[in-house]
Amino acid sequence: MTCDAVRKLIPLYYYGELSAEEEDRAEAHIHECAGCARQMEAARTLAAALDRRRMEAPAELLEDCRADLAAAVRAARLEPARRPWRLWVEAAEATLAGFTGWRQPVGAVALIALGFFAARLVPAGAGVSTASLAPSEGVFVNVRSAQPDSSGHVRIAYDETRRREVSGAIDNQEIQKLLLAAAREEDDPGVRVESVGLLKDRAGSGEVREALMNALLHDTNAGVRLKAIEGLKPLAAQATVRGALSQALQFDDNDAVRMQAVDLLTMRRDDAMVGVLQNLMQKEDNGYVRLKCEKALKEMNASIGTF
């Protein structure tokens, strides 16, 4: 082996990246050649100098990163607050899966159990039992008074709220009406998430699209907003939808929502977005959103900032 050949191998030799055969030959040469031995020593010294710059992540920075990530994942994973509701839906869906005749071509079977809310909206009709001596399962009572009467009986006055369950295809008008109302008005964010999630594949309907945009811009729960943005994805080319996405990009305080919004808005060239993107470059803290804005601006040959 010549000195030139060995010196080319020295970095790989030092890092143990030569084959056994190459290593033996290089080692034999270095052992015999003072010049190459000095080169080997120089490689060791360089590595030792570089080692002094080796650093571990400071514990505080690591903890900050973990906290940031946990918050972002919480916002993104859309876990409903009311777990039993979700479990009930999953169980019901699993049961229905056995009855293939019930399944719609696009799997759009929705089961709705909205508790008090459904009781408010669904008018009483056939099949609804009236109050009996003892409240039945699924009926919530609030006793207003309890008094003995002259015959020795007890007279009890109570209000009752009845839980109703309805089921039907997602295209059913009544089902959609319930879902739209739940998406807008239900107090429980878990129910809103589920409702928007069920509606999102029907964004072609004007009413559903409005509900999704409303949820994106006004819902206080980031999980609901993320579901809404998911539903608006196929409509991202429409001007009104782009307007809502642009508002979310500029003003939503949740990183995951802004990341989704910027993805949809920069999927294709849109010169009307230049001003919004330039303004964002001045104030946006999220690296991913900044990166996407910068890339889109470059593609449109626009300056990165405003001057």
């Binding site: 080319k8 970095p11 790989l12 890092y15 990246e17 120089a42 490689a43 010294t45 360089l46 590595a47 100098a49 570089l50 002094r52 710059r53 080796r54 650093m55 571990e56 992540a57 400071p58 505080e60 920075l61 690591l62 900050d64 990163c65 973990r66 940031d68 990530l69 946990a70 972002a72 994942v73 993104a76 994973r77 990183d255 995951a256 990341m259 999220n286 690296g287 991913y288 990166l291 910068e294």
Partner: protein, 202 residues
């Protein structure tokens, strides 16, 4: 938990695999355990490459959010470690390339007391090192930072992964989507440049 990193493409760590499968089923505790298995090395890689705690924090967040988002589609075609590092190195390379083009975010900046390395000052604040060592570290650090800046983003990445992260060049090739031979050539060029630029130190 230690991930065997030398055999990309193989299922080298059953414990990690079972965590990945649990996380794919929506188990958030498993996802958190996965993060904690790798996040120190991810953050260290980002800090060493970008020399900025803020940028390292962004890389960390973006990388693990991408993992969270795409984990359901991970099919074990390579080890989880390789997949994760593909994500992390892509994000870091994008940042390094942007800096090369825009010449922004220099690791060293001017103050009334001379040049300060952003990461040196960060280290000093947190470590409380003694003054002589701080001075030596600062000078050495500036020389090395300057030399590292001369490497191409890809050379820098290969060098970082080999020297500081201790990955094998074969694994580095898998992570960067290239051959072991190409990774070797890249590493060789990086070490030659470093030797030339830091020749008087060695």
């Amino acid at each position: 938990m230690q991930e065997a990193t030398g055999t990309a493409g193989a299922r080298v760590n059953p414990e990690v695999d079972s965590l990945v499968r649990a996380a794919q089923r929506g188990d958030q505790d498993a996802f958190e355990q996965l993060v904690r298995t790798y996040d120190q090395s991810v953050l260290r890689l980002a800090m060493n490459l970008l020399r900025s705690p803020e940028d390292a924090r962004d890389v960390y967040q973006e990388a693990f959010l991408r993992v969270h988002r795409n984990l359901p589609s991970f099919r074990f075609d390579c080890s989880f470690h390789t997949w994760l590092y593909r994500i992390v190195t892509n994000i870091c390379l994008d940042q390094l390339r942007r800096r090369k083009v825009r010449k922004e975010e220099p690791a060293v900046f001017e103050t009334s007391e001379g040049e300060i390395d952003r990461m040196e000052s960060f280290e000093e604040e947190s470590a409380g090192a003694n003054p002589e060592r701080m001075t030596w570290n600062r000078e050495l650090g500036q020389r090395i930072s300057g030399a590292l800046e001369e490497l191409t983003p890809r050379e820098r990445m290969v060098f970082e992964l080999r020297h500081y992260q201790g990955l094998r060049l074969r694994n580095i090739g898998d992570i960067l989507g290239t051959s072991e031979e190409a990774a070797k050539n890249c590493f060789f060029r990086a070490t030659q440049k470093m030797r030339t630029l830091l020749g008087d130190l060695v």
